[in-house]
């Protein structure tokens, strides 16, 4: 009972006479420490927020206007014909909800040079009925100056409404006619009004119009995408019982080819499809935090080292080890707390900077999303602060222990003193981590809600291997320094080498931090490079037609906008064309998640159209009486059809079965594609809208001349030759790796900061050595050289061990993680040039860090 107050008193005494004074004396330094924590926590927070904002509204752009919907009525192919809408009429009568039909599609604005400029989501809503919606009433959105002029804008040919942000982005004013490309046609949309949107909720890439207007602009007459259901009494939407009742009432009269579900389900389903992607991001950002924690560790450790004499003196004065331990841990927590609070702000800024980029990636890879305003929830605050505290606690542990191991002053006075972290010197830990990683590869992939797979074992292995190699990197340091020693002839290099070979735990720590970053970055190098190589290879084989035709301007794998079928018919009647492989695509609904059904000329696919076959046509036996299909590798893996079988899909015409007779490689999407005969596709989906076509010309025609002629004749279509198509595809590909690149950069920057701090702490610890050297006549220049060599040595070791970690990562990413989560077989490419360049860069950075920190150390001493 008596001890506690004493502990508090002592702690307070310690804080007031030492810690706080250190804070005050080195405001800048502690500011930096807090900033480091803030960057770590901020990176995690920022990515969370940005990925949430970027993927918040999968395809439900209209909700910026109509408000959150409670239920969705969809068709499996995400297209509803107006005739099916009539079947919903009975639902229309009920005043407890509002039915909001939505048509949406992408169009592209044309710049002055007539080239595609900006992609816009075109949303068609019943602008008149919109006036009944609780949210619209609340927001007081007005679609015209005067309501009584409704007949002037309802059903106009091309009037659209945009938000203020959109008007700024387009530089458009009311009445402007904006040239656009839509469904392969060149058209114009007219800005009817700029919506007064005080909260700025309307995304800048949104244009809104009346349903018939949008159907006209998209050449999709008589068709909508879905019907949203919004409760009239929005205050009851949290009432689960009420929701259930409403759902039952809706379901009772819903035509059976349509699917009803809570809106959240769809968001969850789509989110689950991108879960693997977001998981990748989360893991990368966790690495950022880990590196951040490592920095805290470095920084606190540096503080312990700097205050070694003070600690020793306190120990001589009889301060208990446990009190010292507590004091340092508390200090870590205090820094962690301040840093995480600052990290919330940093995260917001990072999210702000990266959300657009992430949205681009999600758009390109998955479904169209709109960027929601960034929000910070209390959960964010909790997680941010929690992570900051946990990691600073963990990071504070070692230095605090280090502090307690400081001997009393009498012993300290005898020379340089560093107890070090024995953990880092024990190879068993690193080796067991690697072993655990290998074992975890035996784990099967974890199936997530939306039907996508998460390679759990792969991720665990990645974590274990990186950490394991980080632990082992100290041993590499000693080894490499030993090998280098005979080569060191100048005093500076010999000194540096001897210090590295000594392998102090601080040196090991500095290397370990870098290894994590290097492993991560070089692993990513390989994955991206393998991807690129594989896709190039795939392109070589797959795309051997003369010309490729697609909708102009619209990009994104999840975008199934399509081309006006009449326009396609017109194009295909061109006399130069010998044969055309026309592709139709639509979404189809398996039991879980979503997949893609393609309608193609199967006869041509069997022989004329080249593919990389995982299982060539005929090698699987398709079930008799079931529609034969060629399926993609991703489809086969996702639905366990590698050895054939039957798969049921929900389509607008009901539930249909397909049976594969061959498997092709496809790197176009990870949802999986099943290709069936075009005619069946048309009857199953009720649509004849193609997405693209590969043209094979008659021999006597020259490809580029035909291309140029078609381009002039069909200005709304992209007509490309094989080379051009490849460039575009690789462009999309690069786009998808933007976020990864940015994260690697953050990782490297943090690692560089860590190296600087680590070296500073190393030099601090060697204070006595430097003093002696000065007396021995060691010049400042020699000192700087020696420090730079030391840094370079750390860089070299980090590169070597990081590259081993990186190769392991690359192997994991290509052979385990990609196969399990995307269903893609990639050819493992090791970009040797990049590896070498990276090594040189790293040694340079190490050298430079040594130089800078030694200079700073020297400057501080004076």
């Amino acid at each position: 009972m008596k001890r506690l107050p004493t502990v508090f008193k002592l702690l307070w005494l310690l804080f007031s006479i030492t810690t706080f004074r250190h804070f005050r004396a080195k405001v800048g330094h502690y500011f930096l420490l807090v900033a480091i924590v803030a960057v770590g926590v901020g990176a995690f927070n920022g990515i969370r927020q940005a990925s949430r904002a970027a993927s918040a509204n999968f395809g439900l752009f209209n909700q910026a206007v109509s408000g959150r919907s409670d239920f969705l009525i969809e068709s499996p192919s995400q297209r509803i014909l107006e005739s099916s809408l009539l079947d919903l009429q009975i639902l229309n009568e009920d005043p407890d909800w509002h039915l909001v039909p939505v048509i949406e599609g992408s169009i592209t604005t044309l710049g002055e040079d007539k080239n595609p400029e900006k992609q816009i989501r075109l949303i068609g809503l019943d602008l008149l009925a919109l006036g009944n919606l609780p949210n619209v009433l609340e927001q007081n959105l007005e679609f015209a100056e005067k309501d009584d002029k409704w007949h002037e804008w309802l059903g106009s040919e091309r009037d659209v409404w945009i938000g203020r942000k959109g008007a700024e982005a387009l530089g458009a004013q009311v009445g402007d006619e904006i040239p656009i490309l839509a469904s392969g046609r060149r058209m114009k949309m007219k800005i009817r009004m700029i919506l007064d949107d005080p909260d700025g909720n309307l995304p800048e890439d949104l244009a809104l119009g009346d349903i018939p207007t949008i159907q006209n602009l998209l050449s999709r007459k008589g068709e909508i995408n879905r019907v949203e259901v919004i409760l009239d009494q929005i205050e009851k939407r949290e009432d689960l019982e009420y929701l259930k009742k409403i759902e039952n009432r809706l379901a009772a009269v819903l035509p059976k080819e349509l699917i009803l579900g809570p809106t959240e389900n769809r968001a969850a389903e789509r989110a689950a499809m991108t879960a693997a992607f977001r998981l990748n991001l989360s893991i990368l950002s966790l690495i950022a935090i880990l590196v951040g924690a490592y920095l805290i560790l470095q920084a606190l450790d540096a503080a312990v080292v700097r205050r070694r004499v003070e600690i020793a003196t306190l120990r001589s004065l009889g301060i208990d080890r446990s009190i010292l331990f507590l004091a340092y841990l508390l200090e870590a927590l205090l820094l962690g707390l301040l840093g995480s609070i600052a990290g919330i702000g940093v995260g917001y800024l990072l999210a702000f900077a990266s959300v657009g980029m992430l949205a681009d990636t999600v758009n390109a890879l998955y479904f169209s999303t709109s960027i929601e305003a960034l929000t910070i929830t209390s959960l964010d605050l909790g997680i941010g602060i929690g992570l900051g505290l946990v990691f600073s606690f963990l990071a504070g542990w070692l230095p605090a222990r280090d502090a307690t191991q400081t001997p009393p002053a009498q012993i300290l006075a005898r020379g340089d003193w560093s107890p070090g972290f024995s953990l880092l010197k024990n190879p068993k830990i690193g080796l067991s981590l690697i072993a655990v990683g290998i074992l975890s590869l035996l784990l099967p992939p974890f199936v997530m809600e939306g039907g996508s797979n998460m390679p759990l074992g792969g991720f665990i292995a990645a974590g274990c291997w990186i950490l394991g190699l980080a632990f082992l990197s100290g041993h590499f340091l000693v080894l490499i320094a030993g090998w280098m020693r005979p080569l060191c002839i100048t005093p500076s290099s010999r000194l540096a080498c001897s210090r590295l070979q000594d392998g102090s735990s601080r040196h090991r720590l500095a290397v370990a931090g870098l290894v994590v970053a290097v492993g991560m970055v070089t692993g990513m190098f390989q994955m991206i490079d393998s991807f690129r190589g594989t896709i190039q290879e795939w392109f070589e084989v797959r795309f051997q037609a003369d010309l490729y035709v697609s909708e102009r301007g619209v990009t994104g794998a999840g975008n199934l906008n399509g081309i006006d079928p009449e326009l396609m018919d017109e194009l295909l009647s061109d006399s130069t064309i010998r044969f055309a492989d026309v592709m139709h695509l639509c979404y189809a609904k398996p039991k879980t998640g979503i997949t893609i059904l393609a309608g193609v000329d199967l006869d041509a696919w069997n022989d004329r159209v080249q593919q990389i076959w995982l299982k060539p046509p005929g090698s699987l036996k398709s079930r008799e009486g079931v529609e034969p299909a060629l399926i993609s590798e991703a489809f086969a893996r996702r639905f366990d059809l590698l050895e054939g079988g039957v798969m049921e899909l929900d389509l607008p015409s009901g539930r249909k079965s397909i049976s594969p007779y061959g498997i092709f490689s496809d790197y176009g999407n990870e949802f999986g594609t099943a290709a069936i005969d075009s005619e069946t596709w048309k009857s199953w989906t009720g649509s004849r809208r193609p997405v693209n076509a590969s043209l094979y010309l008659k021999d006597e025609f020259e490809v580029n001349a035909a291309r140029d002629r078609l381009r002039v004749a069909f200005p709304g279509l992209d007509v490309r030759n094989g080379k051009e198509l490849r460039e575009v595809a690789l462009g999309i590909f690069e786009q998808t790796f933007k976020a990864t690149d940015a994260l690697s950069l953050i990782g490297l920057a943090v690692a560089f900061a860590g190296l600087l701090l680590g070296l500073l702490s190393i030099f601090d610890e060697s204070n006595r050595t430097w003093q002696t050297l000065r007396h021995l006549g060691f010049s400042t220049r020699q000192f700087l050289w020696s420090a730079s060599f030391e840094g370079a040595g750390i860089g070299l070791t980090a590169w070597v061990s990081g590259s081993i970690a990186g190769l392991a990562m690359g192997w994991l990413l290509v052979h385990v993680i990609n196969v399990q989560s995307f269903g893609w077989t990639l050819i493992w490419n090791i970009p040797i040039g990049e590896f070498l360049l990276f090594g040189i860069l790293l040694i340079g950075v190490g050298f430079f860090s040594g130089f800078i920190s030694a200079n700073y150390w020297n400057f501080r001493r004076k």
Partner: protein, 376 residues
């Protein structure tokens, strides 16, 4: 609530004596109701799309057969036409662009005091369909049509929380065609005329599903159908309108148009519908509409004169007094827009000795809730 978006539809129910010949079309191109038109049913129950404005209006008092609970109901469907000259419209059968409809429905539970109501503004198409050939319409939650033997019509009205009223309405009196030569004139502008047809006494029978219980109900109802193409005169701020089913088998309709100065517009009038269906009317100088009590809405804070006394000089019976008392106070209809509130509800009618002589529906518009003139 038939007046609210249609202040311009004000009906002048009695002739000022001299005949003003209406033009064939308005300046905006809509057709103008012609004189001496005898409605040709079932065609004239349907929509008249060439005319700018049209509404169908049902109110009534109901009583449940078993537990004798009393209810009042209102259902109104409006049709507003767009520009008749605009040919460049895109429209599909599901998303029409030329006509829009409003549906107002309300139910007063006179025992519990609960009042539920709902408004929808819809374009013609999948959510609003009104036949041009007969009485057949489905606008939001209101559906109406002819009975199979055409002896009357049926309506069904859906209310919030799943409540549904289904009624068969059979007229016990012939249709009343208001106005001189079948034209109800509402202003001195030549085109200010309408066709105004009313079934003043309908025997109502049906069911009401309400709060999870289905009840057989019966009672008396009233139905208006008006077609016009003209706008309302300036200087009016609102109106008070009532229709009464009197116990003696007659009906009374009265309204006053309130001017900005607070006076009663000369077009205001009182109509008696006699037992045989013939009508007697007096104009504004022959009656007084006095407020006896105000009710203040807790939601909109607007004040409505819900208890009124009408003192009117009948051409033959002399001075008559009708006191209208709301059966429940809160029968305020607030539409989608906050500025569109009015009061319309079930009332009882007392004579000068406070004896109940009938039941009424009373409509009070323009008391700060605006006139809903957004669509006119």
């Amino acid at each position: 609530m038939k007046f609210i978006p249609f202040m311009f539809l004000l009906i002048h129910l009695f002739s000022h004596g001299e005949w003003i010949q209406p033009p064939l079309r308005t300046s905006t191109g809509f057709r103008v109701p012609s004189p001496d038109h005898y409605p040709n049913f079932p065609r004239d129950h349907g929509a008249h799309r060439e005319y700018a404005l049209e509404w169908w209006y049902w109110i009534g008092h109901l009583r449940s057969v078993e537990d004798k609970r009393e209810f009042g109901f209102q259902a109104t469907v409006f049709r507003v036409a767009g520009d008749p000259t605009d040919a460049n419209k895109l429209e599909t059968s599901l998303f029409g662009s030329r006509q829009l409809h409003l549906a107002h429905s309300a139910l007063s539970d006179l025992n519990s005091g609960e009042y539920i109501h709902c408004e929808r503004i819809l374009r013609e198409g999948w959510q609003a369909k009104v036949s041009t050939k007969t009485l057949s319409m489905k606008v939001g939650g209101i559906e109406a049509g002819l009975l199979t033997k055409k002896e009357g019509h049926k309506i069904s009205v859906r209310y919030p929380n799943g409540a549904v009223l289904r009624l068969a309405l059979i007229p016990s009196k012939p249709l009343v065609r208001f106005g001189d030569r079948g034209l109800s004139r509402k202003g001195s502008e030549p085109a200010s005329v309408s066709w105004y047809w009313t079934y003043t006494r309908l025997e109502a029978k049906g069911t009401l599903f309400y709060r999870g219980v289905e009840r057989k109900v019966e009672g008396l109802a009233w139905m208006d159908h008006e077609i016009s193409s003209s706008q309302l005169g300036k200087g009016l701020v609102g109106w008070d309108w009532t229709c009464m089913h009197l116990n003696d088998g007659t009906e009374l309709k009265a309204y006053r148009l309130r001017t900005e100065e607070g006076s009663c517009d000369p077009w205001s009038a009182v109509y008696w519908i006699n037992s045989d269906g013939s009508t007697t009317s007096v104009k504004s100088e022959n009656f007084n509409w006095l407020t006896e009590k105000f009710w203040k809405s807790p939601k909109t804070k607007l004040e409505y004169p819900t208890s009124v006394k009408i003192i009117v000089r009948h051409p033959t019976r002399g001075v008559c007094t009708y006191r209208i008392r709301p059966l429940i106070e809160n029968q305020e209809f607030h539409g989608n827009r906050a500025d569109n509130a009015y009061w319309e509800g079930a009332c009882e009618v007392l004579d000068s000795t406070n004896k109940r002589i009938g039941k009424a529906y009373l409509e009070l518009a323009g008391y700060g809730g605006g006139l809903g003139a957004r669509l006119n």
